[in-house]
Symmetry: C2
Subunit: 156 residues, 2 copies
């Protein structure tokens, strides 16, 4: 249907959008490569070639993305190289992870609430705290709802 060039362009564009969303460049490109491959798994060498970067860069990027829980190492018999595969729930995982960032903000705000006496600032901080708390609680519910809906299950 489409040429190799179009595929790569689309992958690069996705990577760019992910960078815009706050991801490291190399990690984003790695994830996009997994997104667009037809192969079962990719090795560090595959990635280096596909992305046109050094082995060192790939090593770092893969480590980061793996630790984010988006890809996993798999062991392929008869191959000495390490193979990686993208997890099915990578995107929902990524969404949840972004909420761990929200958690950091929330902790900072809670400290603020304690550090400030009554007044406008205190009120503002409480409002913010409440909203972020709400988000933290609702995010997993949202993801769960998506998954249920996708599996075609009836609403709980």
């Amino acid at each position: 249907m489409t040429g190799e060039t179009e595929r790569r362009d689309a992958a690069e564009q996705l990577a760019l959008a992910l960078v815009g969303a706050g991801m490291q460049r190399m990690g984003a490109r790695t994830l996009a490569a997994f997104m667009f491959t037809e192969k079962d798994s990719l090795t560090a060498g595959d990635l280096a070639e596909e992305l046109g970067v050094s082995a060192g860069s790939v090593s770092g990027a893969v480590r980061m993305v793996a630790q984010m829980g988006l890809i996993e190492r798999i062991y392929v018999a008869g191959s000495r190289r390490e193979h990686f595969r993208m997890l099915d729930n990578a995107w929902t995982t990524l969404y949840s992870r972004q909420h761990s960032v929200v958690d950091d903000v929330l902790r900072a705000v809670e400290k603020g609430v304690e550090a400030v006496g009554p007044g406008r600032a205190h009120d503002r901080l409480e409002y913010m705290r409440d909203f972020y708390t709400f988000l933290i609680n609702e995010a997993p519910v949202l993801v769960e709802r998506f998954e249920r809906q996708r599996r075609g299950e009836p609403r709980s």
Copy 2:
């Protein structure tokens, strides 16, 4: 209750957390300053002094934060300076804005779906597209629910 130092420390900590969430440093510090002030409004000069940075930096940061819709210019009679105030709905606004970033990702993914023929990649892209579409749709609902709940209104 607390000293000036504690207040500033807490503000800096919030700024740091916001940077972790992907905000520009200066914008985050500006927002934190608004969060922690007891004043009605702040001028560029106030911010420069509070944050210990140049007028140029403040100008850029204020522009960015204002354009994000988190603060607004207000006109104070008898003052030639421009005053700024944080909007009450700043945090829900910020949350919604983050979803405009999600929108960029979604567009890139949709392009990918078109650019790739049937196969694993196509399936993965579709799954991702569906999840991000779901998020885009649900985010405003979530915010609305928070606001209703906060106003103490009964569940719709």
